[in-house]
Point group: C2
Chain length 326, copies 2
């Protein structure tokens, strides 16, 4: 399709391009008749001022790249939606990139975003070994991820969340508590949850039961790993899951194998996205302040775009959502 420019509008309205430009920028004297003629031509030709040309000239695109594993995962989906909303309120638009936990796809997106002159990037992926973020001149904010020098990290207070969840299980009488956690070899603020778990086990003289289920695994592999573990460890009477999906997979397996939740096994998740609780109001979980995380991340990114220095924010407050699984 041929793109329409001011030349075509001028021709249609039978005026000069300078006149069209004056109407567009509301500059200089233009008679009502001429203005109407130009605007009618714009409507007829579906002409819209070219923001791309403006971006190129201003060296500012008002475009932000957002790289996440998936806009389907309820926690990330809600974050992405909140970020997109906040960006749109500030006149920015969002190029969404789902890495699908594929490191090469993530690297390709990073190059694509740079070639398209985005003003900054918000990243929430969990891939190991992706370089290109460290020491970048491009403003970058990472959510739930430490990407090294010059990037700013935003996360909830993971230690407090872990403590809140595990203490609840202890208070309800659990003696064999399982911590289903993410990949311990990736530098994630979420690792603090497991530190809280380990500290509370030690303090209460309770045995440690830890199962690593990396975030980047497929749902099928996560399901199988949890089921195998629970089959081999029937003594488990409390589960602190790394996210609500892991909690749901555990609950479903238990209920299919004649264990009652919460009577026989108590389960608590993490994240508490609105969507999850709408479909699964029974699930007890630690709610992350998703709206706040999105807001702080977006603000810090825009500040960085505007040349300000920014620091990490790792203590946004979590809360307990009481369902019926603990």
């Amino acid at each position: 399709m041929k793109k329409i420019g001011i030349r075509e509008v001028a021709e249609e309205a039978q005026v000069s391009t300078a006149t069209v430009s004056r109407v567009l920028n509301n500059r200089g004297y233009i008679s009502k008749e001429t203005r109407d003629k130009v605007q009618a031509a714009m409507r007829k030709l579906e002409y819209y001022p070219n923001d791309l040309a403006r971006a190129l000239y201003q060296k500012r695109t008002y475009t932000v790249g957002v790289i996440f594993p998936s806009n389907v995962h309820p926690f990330q989906a809600e974050l992405i939606q909140d970020i997109e909303y906040l960006l749109s309120q500030k006149g920015y638009k969002m190029l969404l990139c789902n890495s699908l936990n594929n490191p090469q796809k993530e690297i390709d997106y990073l190059t694509m975003l740079r070639k398209n002159q985005v003003d900054g990037i918000i990243v929430g992926t969990h891939n190991k070994y992706v370089s290109g973020y460290q020491n970048s001149k491009l403003p970058i904010v990472a959510i739930d991820r430490d990407l090294g020098e010059n990037t700013t990290t935003v996360a909830c207070d993971n230690y407090a969340g872990g403590k809140m969840a595990v203490q609840l299980l202890i208070d309800r009488g659990c003696k064999q508590i399982l911590d289903i956690r993410g990949d311990s070899s990736v530098k994630l603020p979420a690792n603090d949850r497991s530190i809280a778990y380990l500290n509370l086990m030690k303090k209460n003289n309770l045995p440690k039961n830890v199962l690593e289920v990396p975030f980047v695994w497929s749902a099928a592999k996560k399901k199988e790993t949890i089921e195998n573990y629970l089959q081999k460890h029937p003594q488990i009477d409390g589960i602190f899951a790394g996210d609500d999906l892991l909690a749901s997979l555990a609950i479903f397996y238990l209920e299919m194998h004649d264990k009652r939740v919460p009577e026989d096994v108590k389960v608590i998740g993490f994240d508490g996205a609105k969507q999850t609780l709408l479909y699964n109001p029974r699930l007890t979980t630690i709610r992350q302040p998703i709206g706040q995380i999105a807001q702080v991340a977006t603000e810090k990114l825009i500040n960085k775009i505007n040349g300000k220095k920014e620091t990490d924010c790792l203590d946004l407050p979590v809360s307990l959502y009481i369902g019926r699984t603990v």
Copy 2:
């Protein structure tokens, strides 16, 4: 942040801008030494070829605007993710716009996308009274929505899906079947599901029970409406819900009020997104072929961008997912 151009690269490498341009376009003779020097300067300055300038020159941005109500709704989230993946495979990028069921936000996005010279738009919103799509010169594909002349609609075979769901409830002995449907005043292919419901009720001499719950309502309003209806109509023994959220809300209400699902009331949903079934494997539902819808919509849009004519596709095959709620 100052954007780096080939001028800065040339200066850093101590060569002419013409030389940098020859390296970039791999044109003309360049000694290995010069090439290495230029590439080192690019790396050092984090210079990336400016795809924006290329887009402006070629009048083709390889950018597609995608407007949906929400990237959180599981069905739409999966569609968006599949579309984004398919676009990225074809060298396109996606500007994601969540209308949040706000008609003004949708109109503003449409203008923003046009100003940013997107090559085409995929739209899956449910707002009434949004003009600007009809007779557009810009290639537009609508999913589950009829937007008028010149736009192409893609949807599953909604009539077959409705028939499959309602026939299952009849086969399992339901006598008082409720159809929870969307807004009948919006022109949606999904309206065919209710036509299937009405035809089957007539054919089997069963009473009609229809509850309208517009898609654009808040979750809280949907919940309240369903609960009020079920409270006033305790005779309902089968529910065909317009989507899996409506089905989940009904199931949760019934179970909280001592009705067993499926023994007392059978419930079947619609959509069957992967995410929904991962968290709620018990839910019986009609699965839409989400991957196929995304593929057909993306293909048709790219064809239209390339100047080809396209026709509607309204019969992508649905399938039955047997959970434990019917």
